[in-house]
Subunit: 237 residues, 6 copies
């Protein structure tokens, strides 16, 4: 039995609330159980220098965590003067995930910046962020379409993410923080609505794992992500 009394293949309670802040072109407050992330999508008529004049846009992400999102207070990165490796790694992952389902040419020469700020962290902040970011991106694109800024829809598919891990030999879906700290192996899986893989990151700090275990984790993730995609569909309906 999991500490949370969930079934091995059971997601935490998920919610995806839209339009939660006043100014952003798209926003989503996503909850995966006690993990709460506020996502905003900002449209800007500018591009990173290396992308100018190519007829393509860009989608990028930034990630942060409020100091007391965690059990013990974490030092504010603005005050320490640098974003840590974990932050940079996560925001790169979110950006890549969103770009995998976005037609950057259809977007035109503009940038959408997706900010994912963790209000409360109980494991799986990056997967919650990706899942909510798709909703915020969707709404930002809708905002653009309403203003006749797009000729065709740049959003080619859904994208969502979930973590899975092996704990005491058993594969578990959507780890919370206590499960995550205990897991022998854990992975983050990003998939599209059509079930294709965007990112697979599986790590074994304690015990190396087998290919069979990886395949089991992918199967579990596929199940969870299908559910998350359904919830995204409901959310933007």
């Amino acid at each position: 039995m999991r500490p949370s009394r969930r079934q091995p293949d059971e997601l935490r309670a998920i919610s995806l609330d839209r339009a939660v802040v006043k100014y952003a072109e798209g926003s989503c407050f996503v909850k995966f159980g006690d993990t709460h992330v506020l996502v905003t999508a900002t449209l800007e008529e500018r591009l990173p220098p290396w992308l100018k004049g190519q007829g393509r846009g860009w989608v990028t992400a930034e990630y942060g965590m409020l100091p007391r999102a965690t059990l013990e207070r974490t030092r504010r990165e603005a005050s320490s003067g640098r974003q840590g490796g974990r932050t940079l790694e996560i925001q790169r992952l979110i950006g890549r995930s969103l770009r995998s389902v976005t037609d950057l040419i259809a977007l035109g020469e503009r940038q959408i910046t997706v900010d994912c700020d963790v209000i409360q962290a109980d494991g799986g902040t990056r997967t919650a962020a990706i899942t909510g970011a798709w909703v915020a991106l969707h709404d930002c694109l809708t905002w653009m379409r309403t203003r006749d800024m797009l000729k065709s829809d740049p959003l080619r598919d859904h994208v969502a993410a979930v973590s899975c891990g092996i704990s005491k030999g058993a594969p578990l879906l959507d780890l919370d923080y206590p499960e995550d700290s205990e897991a022998e192996t854990d992975g983050n899986f990003v998939m599209t609505g059509s079930g294709r893989l965007v990112e697979v990151q599986a790590t074994a700090e304690k015990t190396p794992f087998t290919e069979e275990e990886l395949i089991a984790l992918i199967a579990l993730a596929r199940k969870g992500i299908a559910k998350l995609v359904d919830l995204q569909k409901l959310a933007v309906m």
Copy 2:
């Protein structure tokens, strides 16, 4: 008539929600109209080096703003690598305000860090932060009392804050962002529950002001702060 259709001496809709995050010893989500600030209070059994061994505790504050709390996206301070002057100035003000009503000896050799993170900004973020911070601090101290960590109550009084300004010659209470940008003079006023002054900061970038105008602003602030203190009392009842 104010753009918001408020009376000159009318506060925005205020709310003070407690216990809004899971891990913090005290927390408050404070709204002054469209200005929304999440405040957490963290208790730590450590002190800044210069305060060690004096039999006194410390209360300090940090302030941040999510990138899309504002009309246009603001660069993340963690990414630019330093906290700006405005941030540092505000967090010093919040810390001083809280210490003015805290008995640091009664607190004992511990530090309470109050984090104020602006989720949405429509003027008056620092005054909303101070008003909500008192609630979070109060709850953190209650948390300690429940655990028999305090001999006497370190909280000597309420403290709350409001901005006032002179716009087209008229003194107005609790400026929202459009009013704030228009005001000839504006000030932030911090007062205790007993009506004494903790901080007065009045500034005229456009036109220098008279002492009479300052006194009118203080009278307005006093009225607003009395109301805010009543709301704090209701909130922690």
Copy 3:
């Protein structure tokens, strides 16, 4: 009796020496007793990016303190890699104070940077800096007028500043460092030559204060600033 044997409403010995460095367009070495600040005004034919093309100029300030301006050596901010909150707060105050008496349109699309470097600190460095900065700014504008760079005089009034505080219940003018450390309440007051208020910053870290006390401090400040403005007039005569 004050430690310095001054009357409660007595300024320290003030001097305002002009043209103290060779290269600056305007400069002033200002002494408020043992507080010594070197102020230079630099004219540059450039503007911050956000101000370009608006037909207006800018006046800004930077503040620094030599490491051994203080009783104990203070770490050099260039070596610690960032300007502290106090430095940023003070330089913002100096800039606002000077802009309150400057017609930025008459200045034209140029920037004047006023550098205030504290050579010796005995309390009231920011008020001495503002008082001397007016002289340096005045001389910089004279330098421009001599070269036919100005159609009309951008300087609309004098601006000067003084600190006041309440120590053992008594209001005192122009606190030196020992008085400043003892004061229950202290404030910095910036006023124009015509006696209007530009900035009021009053703070009580120890005991909150009353409105009557604030009014008494303002009265005292008004008296001191009138004297400082007379000294500015003598200095630039």
Copy 4:
């Protein structure tokens, strides 16, 4: 046909030279074709603060690239003042990979820091680094054993890594830079000598991939890593 005329399942020319610098306790100059990485292992009798007193040691890694390791000169991170996200991500991966085959209790309360500096980069620098790092770590542990510093061997297995990708629909082993830029999907695979998985990181920025494709990449990686482990065995023989 690959641009390099290699078979799809053919590694580049690999070499693992040991003891290439004078001072390090272990070192390896690893070549994967034109990708050249210098790895050193440094033993230090100290630990990160959070690990002290737990009877365990630590293995960590740092990664850097010489400015002209690349086709165009890259800015030196020491001069830009921060390590980029890619650098931090890679050095965390190398550290985790090494720790997955190290018994940290057998190591004792010491830290081994593995520095991986890329002298020349033609794709796959992180996989070359991991493969060479194992050799440097091995030699560092031998150095310790020779000095009777270890009771049992902390090295539980080999660990090596290789990249694989899908290019024009075909799975390819050990991508060089031109292949890497073209690939629709690419992944980095870290495995032990016994063929278990330590890390799987597969990414599709262009087109999401299928589970079958991932399995094909793993099979290819397994083949390559087996060969790399053989070469490690030869190298340390």
Copy 5:
């Protein structure tokens, strides 16, 4: 004829004023013509970590320049967030020069920090700084002796410095800024009171120079430094 109408072997007007700031244990305001440097010496009962417990003290220096010490305003290093290479190079030179005449064992386990801040720069700031720093160090040691903190005198000799250069083929002593910018070769020479060399730094960015020219520069420097040492003796008499 030099632009300044000085003879080739003529120093600028030199002055060395002592006890110019209130708090420092030693201080000197040194002028080499229009180059003005404020030097303070601070005694602290602490040591850099790597020197602890060796029965020896340390003398170190920091160097800074006020923004408008120069013809055009220079950006404040505290605001740019790092000390430039020139600053670091100069402060290392000043520290070495002072240590060459100080008996660090006689000083005891304490640190003297010499701060050299350039108020006005017209060439030769580092040589003026060294020459004035000796006076500040001398007075700091006198301050210690008066308080019975020293058993023997740590100051073994004078140390002073001057720049020399070759301009249009002619060797010139104590270059001012216009001469310095024109010189084909220039050098900074640090010598003791007994005429021995502490540092020789001669550089040719335009035309490489001959050994004979170097010897001529040293002869000129020797003459100037002998005069500077006489002035130091007069100053501390």
Copy 6:
């Protein structure tokens, strides 16, 4: 007898290998005994802003040291977030040395950046770097000539460098690290192929030295540099 059994005027074993990395326009792996430096020269069609439009190019250098180039591991400057004073000082010296033999007008409006990265350090890294940098610069210019990018040869002469020091009263050529730590006086000497001086930097932290000693060191350096220039000629033949 020197610890290395060399004669007082004997260089260490020197080697200058060219074209050691694939991408750089010029490169050299230089060994002075156990001091090994990898030098690359990068041609870029851009200039520092202050040099634009003057019809001249620029040659600059950067210097770094791998963490385990030294006996004990040195902290990576990319990780500490700033280049130290020693690094900045050395890279400025290398740049000046190369520019002293380069006709910047003949180079045209381009920049050559010479990166010197120390792989292994046993004293004299800056002199080895300068000596190898000439070879890399030479080859970069040859690369340009082959592509008809130059009308005339910008390289006016050889430049090479060596350290000399006085140890136990005896002048020694090309100090290795143990000798360098023992020396009373040491200097770095940069000379051209025609025997003229480019830089002389002689320092006495322990005992000030005499002019005669300096002249002896120069004589020794001249001998060594003549040999180094011969080796450069052989290398590029």
